[in-house]
């Protein structure tokens, strides 16, 4: 099991949940936590710091993809851990899934992708499930890869993956870009089952249907230009 790892949490206006998420991670022994506060207008930063996380502050809001890239490059340049696990700030991810990522052999696998469709989705609305499934089909066609879940933020980047993957899409379309980078850089990947807890809060914070259409359009536009 890997000991030298960091948990990376991109956060935007998450003052209600971030402290709970950080404290839960620490209570399970995951003490290396980096929160990238993506220009929040609330007290996300203070809450995360008080809960025990290190915090990098984006001066302005640039989106989840940008926050992830900041965190990945910072940890790569300064900590060089064996793996970096990306974790959502809204409490959707299950802390008890983390050991599943840490038990992977990162000498053979470059990136481990969490899949809610191999695992469990608690309280997932049917519309969200349909949209996510369509997103999977779309991303698989665009990237030429076969995955069961393409827009899940629960991932573990091994050293080769976090050094080679460059996220240039600053918004939510970064999820499709990561899959494309895996293909382009010929990285070894593996999907493992994870549990996603949907709550009123996480659904309120998450993507709307229109958001998914926007992501698809941006991915198509990027492919064309």
């Amino acid at each position: 099991m890997i000991n030298n790892y960091w948990i990376l949490i991109p956060a935007y206006n998450e003052q209600k949940k971030i402290a709970l998420v950080v404290k839960e991670l620490i209570s399970h022994g995951h003490t290396n936590i980096l929160v990238v506060n993506d220009g929040s207008k609330d007290n996300t930063s203070l809450e995360a710091k008080n809960a025990g996380a290190q915090v990098i502050e984006h001066i302005i809001n640039r989106g989840q993809g940008a926050a992830l890239q900041t965190g990945l490059s910072y940890l790569s340049e300064n900590k060089s851990p064996e793996c970096i696990i990306t974790f959502d700030a809204d409490g959707q991810h299950d802390v008890t899934d983390i050991p599943k990522f840490l038990n992977q052999d990162f000498t053979k696998i470059d990136i481990v992708l969490g899949s809610r469709f191999l695992g469990t989705q608690i309280n997932i609305p049917i519309m969200r499930k349909i949209i996510l499934k369509l997103g999977v089909i779309f991303t698989n066609i665009v990237s030429g890869i076969s995955l069961t879940d393409t827009h899940n933020g629960f991932r573990a980047f091994g050293r080769k993956a976090y050094q080679e993957i460059k996220i240039s899409q600053r918004g939510m379309e970064h999820a499709s870009e990561i899959i494309e980078e895996i293909v382009k850089k010929k990285l070894q990947y593996k999907e493992i089952p994870v549990t996603i807890h949907y709550s009123d809060y996480s659904l309120e914070k998450g993507q709307r249907t229109v958001g998914f259409i926007k992501i698809a359009l941006k991915v198509i536009l990027r492919k064309l230009l």
Binding site: V36, I56, R62, A66, Q69
Partner: protein
């Protein structure tokens, strides 16, 4: 010369002078200067001698000069929108990179 032609002449003279000024202060390069000068000159010539558009149209197998002007106008507009999109995208990426690098540097200084 009609009032419309005079108005077009004034507008073109003004925009052409701005292009020259921007070229002189090196805000735009040779390529852009030539491109814009060509655009303004074409509009100027067609405004003063509108029948020329009919001659060009007929040479290209189109009946009316207005059709050919509309056609080329649309192409130029699409091209300019494309260039703007590319430029905006590049600016957006640079802003994200600048934001990220500044954030990391400030975090290191605070530690």
């Amino acid at each position: 010369m009609s009032i419309l032609q005079i108005i077009i002449l004034i507008i073109i003279s003004f925009t052409a002078s701005r292009t020259l000024l921007r070229f002189n202060d090196k805000s735009i390069g040779y390529g852009e200067f030539i491109f814009w000068t060509f655009i303004w000159t074409t509009i100027l010539v067609l405004a003063v001698k509108p029948y020329l558009s009919d001659t060009i149209a007929q040479a290209l197998g189109v009946q009316r000069g207005t059709d050919i002007m509309f056609f080329f106008g649309t192409i130029v507009l699409f091209y300019l929108i494309f260039r703007l999109y590319v430029k905006l995208d590049s600016l957006d990426r640079h802003l994200t990179e600048l934001n990220s690098n500044t954030s990391k540097a400030i975090h290191k200084l605070k530690k």
